[in-house]
């Protein structure tokens, strides 16, 4: 409420004093500072990424890409990250909605809990998953009795990725729901729309930018996930060796292959994040 009032007053002031937004920044010290800081940051991010691209000629990268190990890792990564992002969305949307719309005792604890996987070192997350779903784990021992073992399977990869990446989606979606005016939903209800209809046809389209941004973050995080995956799911080509694990192992023996994998990862991530950004319009 305060924020919108503040925005209104600034807009009012701007209109009244007839200064356009761009004109307010004509003072060159401000411009210079912004320019320098922004350039430094962009260079800091851009140069290391570019160095990956220019290390090898494209033909070398292409020939490395055709190794079965590389193709397996790529395929596995794409499948598992898609599954984990889907899982994050399906399970994360209700959580985000509840946290955004309702107030209850222990809400702050729950919010912290949901954010906790993002601050845990990934290997710690992996150990935690192992202690829970491993063969001797808290829940895993019962699963083992009925013949289900999770470690060393692709399912374990998806679980590890979901564990570390879902919080990104939940927090982004929650922010989206929080800033959506409740009157839209209330209006829909007065028009006799069911809660499901309201959610899918009214609320979700309106929070689409936040959702897409959350999906992008979550997907990117799960694509880069290494520590929890290798600890919980292990490393075996074709089953659990995702691209980050393959890059890490390759970097110890065959740097060219590692760079080729890294370039592909970069290209795929860049493409998808760009597509999500374009989709927001």
């Amino acid at each position: 409420m305060e924020q919108s009032a503040r925005k209104e007053s600034v807009q009012h002031l701007t209109a009244v004093t007839n200064i356009s937004k761009s004109q307010r920044f004509t003072r060159w010290p401000a411009r210079l500072l912004v320019g320098v800081l922004a350039t430094l940051f962009l260079l800091f991010i851009g140069i290391p990424l570019a160095s990956l691209l220019f290390q090898e000629p494209p033909s070398a990268i292409w020939s490395e890409l055709q190794q079965p190990v590389v193709l397996q890792a790529l395929q596995l990564s794409l499948i598992t990250t898609t599954l984990s992002t889907l899982t994050a969305v399906v399970f994360g949307l209700p959580v985000a909605y509840v946290l955004a719309r309702y107030n209850f005792a222990g809400k702050k604890l729950l919010e912290t809990l949901v954010t906790l996987p993002t601050v845990l070192p990934p290997v710690v997350a992996g150990v935690a998953l192992l202690l829970t779903f491993g063969r001797m784990g808290l829940i895993g021992r019962y699963l083992d009795m009925i013949g289900i073992t999770i470690p060393f399977t692709t399912v374990a990869v998806v679980m590890a990725q979901t564990f570390v990446a879902a919080p990104f989606f939940v927090n982004s979606a929650k922010a989206g729901f929080e800033q959506l005016d409740r009157r839209y939903e209330q209006a829909a209800y007065t028009l006799r729309a069911s809660p499901f209809y309201t959610f899918f046809r009214v609320v979700l389209p309106l929070v689409q930018p936040a959702l897409l941004s959350g999906i992008g973050l979550s997907w990117a995080r799960s694509l880069g996930e290494f520590g929890a995956t290798i600890t919980f799911a292990g490393n075996f080509a074709g089953t659990t060796q995702t691209v980050p694990i393959a890059v890490y192992l390759a970097s110890e023996t065959d740097l060219d292959q590692a760079i080729a994998l890294a370039v592909v990862l970069l290209a795929v991530s860049f493409g998808l994040l760009l597509a999500l950004r374009v989709g927001r319009k």
Binding site: G134, F152, F236, S251
Partner: protein, 287 residues
């Protein structure tokens, strides 16, 4: 309203800070022992920090050596970087500041020598390979032959890791023998479910009961894990003697102190500790 909300936040932050300080104080890799009156053997008294890059399998023994070393050389602080030897040599090649490099195999030390980064290496310890199973034996493994049973989950180190390579060599020897044969070798390899990045990760998975068996160094069965795992010995005729070379790094800023450390490792002081932790001493005591 705002003031009431700030106080609990501040107190929580202060509490966290105190906790971190308390934890941080106890986790140094060298323990400052209060020894009385032992005269240091090195001439210089200036405080020196040595960066020791050592293979993961040397963790327990080198940590024990650090305690003893501090008594003899109170001005020297040992900072350890324990990791797979293949990672350590990459780090050194890429300019990481190391004073001493202790590798778990000669292949990785040769990479460092070929790059002209280390002085002449000396073998300071030897290690053997063994199979470990969780104490509860979920895979029902009683002998080496059982490793080939269908459905067993065997965790090994990746081939680039020294112990992974040694494990494959052992299986190769067994595959060439009439006792086991090539079918055995391929059956065991088909039971590999994970290829870890360092030997400690293999032990971790066996310890947790995730793996039915793992191939590790003899020395990895430390006191900490001894009651959680059982050993299945590999007979000497199939076993591989892993040679551990040590060398000082040429670019070290503390060459004399680094050389002193290497000498200590090769001397009876260091060798006794290494033997206590399961290594085979090389018998080259140069003290």
């Amino acid at each position: 309203m705002k003031r009431q909300h700030r106080a609990p936040l501040v107190s929580i932050l202060i509490l966290l800070g105190l906790l971190l300080a308390a934890c941080g104080g106890g986790s140094t890799t060298t323990s400052g022992t209060s020894s009385s009156g032992s005269t240091p053997t090195t001439a210089s008294q200036a405080p020196v920090t040595l960066n020791i890059f050592a293979a993961a399998s040397l963790t327990e023994s080198f940590n024990a050596i650090a305690t003893q070393y501090k008594t003899a050389h109170p001005n020297v602080t040992l900072k350890y970087n324990f990791n797979g030897s293949q990672i350590l040599v990459q780090q050194i090649i890429n300019g990481a500041p190391a004073d001493v490099f202790a590798s778990a195999d000669t292949t990785n030390m040769q990479k460092a020598t070929a790059a002209g980064l280390v002085t002449t290496p000396k073998v300071f310890a030897q290690n053997k390979i063994t199979v470990v199973i969780p104490a509860g034996n979920p895979g029902n493994i009683t002998s080496l032959k059982d490793l080939a049973k269908k459905g067993e989950k065997i965790v090994v180190a990746a081939p680039a890791v020294p112990v992974g390579k040694y494990g494959l060599q052992v299986l190769d020897k067994m595959g060439k023998s009439p006792q086991y044969g090539p079918a055995y070798e391929s059956a065991v390899k088909a039971n590999f479910v994970s290829q870890e990045d360092n030997v400690k990760a293999v032990i971790q998975k066996v310890q947790l009961g995730e793996a039915d068996a793992g191939i590790v160094y003899r020395t990895d069965v430390t006191t900490a894990v001894a009651n959680k795992v059982k050993l299945i010995e590999i007979p000497d005729n199939f076993n591989v003697i892993a040679q551990y070379p040590i060398a000082t790094v040429k670019s070290s800023k503390n060459a004399a102190a680094a050389q002193d450390f290497v000498q200590y490792i090769l001397s009876s002081g260091g060798q006794t500790v290494l033997e206590k932790y399961g290594f085979i001493s090389t018998g080259s005591s140069g003290s």
